[in-house]
Symmetry: C4
Subunit: 191 residues, 4 copies
């Protein structure tokens, strides 16, 4: 089964997710700059989520490069990932509109944990399909980065109840780790 349409559909859904978040930036009616001030937590959460969804797009882009085929299990593992990603606009708005209160920040983090787990599942299904001795498996390695991210997200969710800004800081830290696109896959592509 070809990977072309899975890529196209995934790109489509991710493009919509990343764009509809902006619908939350509801327009203030005041005419001066102070009217924009109450928007900052919504804007700030939008920036964080734009980066996070951008990272997923980037990594999916690089990963699918070395993928050679897909099967039914991969299609569903991919839809599972898209499901948790599709909740990001809602959890982002929940966090932003409640001005980064602890529970919404934790809920946002739980969604990130589930996205991370879904990504790991997708990678595992692809690994099983391709076998150990393929470009895909070599590029993936032990996927330490993926495992560390999930662990950090869980830590962030827990620490949110000490102080929510620790949670937010860890979300940015994980984003920074992934910011550089997954060079493992690009390194293999170069060869």
């Amino acid at each position: 089964m070809g990977k072309g349409r899975v890529e196209a559909f995934t790109d489509g859904v991710v493009a919509i997710i990343i764009t509809i978040m902006v619908l939350e930036l509801k327009v203030p009616h005041g005419e001066d700059l102070s009217a924009l001030a109450p928007l900052w937590p919504i804007f700030f959460s939008y920036v964080l989520s734009f980066i996070n969804v951008g990272i997923y797009w980037n990594n999916l882009h690089n990963m699918f490069h070395t993928v050679q085929r897909v099967d039914g299990r991969v299609l569903w593992a991919n839809l599972n990932l898209l499901f948790w990603l599709s909740l990001i606009p809602a959890t982002t708005a929940f966090m932003g509109e409640n001005h980064f209160a602890p529970v919404p920040v934790a809920v946002y983090g739980v969604d990130l944990v589930l996205c991370g787990v879904a990504y790991r599942i997708l990678v595992t299904k692809l690994h099983r399909l391709h076998g150990n001795d393929t470009a895909f498996a070599k590029a993936l390695g032990s996927d330490r980065k993926g495992k560390i991210s999930v662990a950090l997200y869980i830590t962030a969710v827990l620490l949110t109840f000490v102080n929510q800004w620790i949670g937010v800081a860890i979300y940015f830290l994980v984003a920074a780790i992934w910011f550089v696109p997954d060079t493992r896959f690009s390194r293999v592509i170069e060869k």
Copy 2:
């Protein structure tokens, strides 16, 4: 007439349908977990519809693999299917916001019946275009699964007026039947 753009357009519309449903998950303003509680029927109906639309995407993906060409009738049969699929966000919200009351659950089921019928029409038009002695026709067979689904959806709609949860249970049952992507088509592709 090539099938490429029909596939791309269909993927685009389905990607948008599956994603805009999340706009119904309107953000609660409370800052704690109890604020999320009233969202459960909307979330639950979102999950059901995400799976249903995902199944359509999956099956359309597999089916178009064995398709060799399309004509005007197929284009319109496809748009007809997209029309009924495009109502799913509205019927999902109707069902979720009314906490699975019988009439909204039945209306949701009627939309599923119409999607199922539209899928059958599309398959029939493609069958007629390709003839009996083609990969497409062999993969399709008698389409028992498609016919049973429509029959089950009609049963579900009727039983909703006895107890709506029977209806909901049947919707999940049909989803489970289709969850495994249509191996008939993939089996033919493998060869």
Copy 3:
């Protein structure tokens, strides 16, 4: 300049237009069928617009088949068409929410006139670019259908002020004329 990305972008915008119209079908909060009754004008206008946008997609699909190249003028003529098409969700809602009152029905028709004119402009630019002795020009012929549609839409807008249902009837009449995809282009493709 290749036509691939213009097709893809056009498909994307049309897919979004056809899908976001459904956001107007706002969910009623009543739990029984009578709650759906007030939705009928919005649903009815949605059906009409879904068919109209579907027709444009269909005809653009067929037309671009015989197109061989595009230039800057074509890109802008295409964006111009997309602009007027992008207003259809708004004019549809204006018509539906005001229960097919004369002025909204006329405004809807004016948008259809402008879409029709924009389509004629696009076709003319493509004709000029391809020259008379090409598959495109032969498929296009005198474009009587395009010219008649614009004339009928103008008539419909004017007759709306006698009785708006005459206008609505003509909108459906034009849709019926175009419903069969433009066989001129498909005929040329067959050869």
Copy 4:
């Protein structure tokens, strides 16, 4: 790394941005033409933004034609541009709903400045990746047009506080400059 999916994703996001702006054209409930009158500033700002986003799509379309490959830096520079473009629906609505008051007009301009800067950054990263002696570099030249646009936008933002219509006029002036698609790139493509 191939450029195909970056193009497709970019097209998708731009298609969504250009289309969701129309959701701001909220339907008036009056039944006559006077009901449309209060919409003019929103409609006027929609037209300006449709042209602006259309210009970006057009120029990205032409620019990616001469691009031969992309790397991680280009992907992020592209996402950065998409981020600032994604704010256009919000800044457009802010400007339109406040009837072109000075501060919203300036905020809109600041977003255009940031889009322009992001476009320059993207072009620079691509230039560095391709080297000086390539079709891309030759097509780009000194990018005077890009630099002048940013300078004009900054001027427009400042002059908005003298009179906001000077700002709006300059926004239209820059649009006019870019309206003709970037012939530098198309000239190279022709060869």
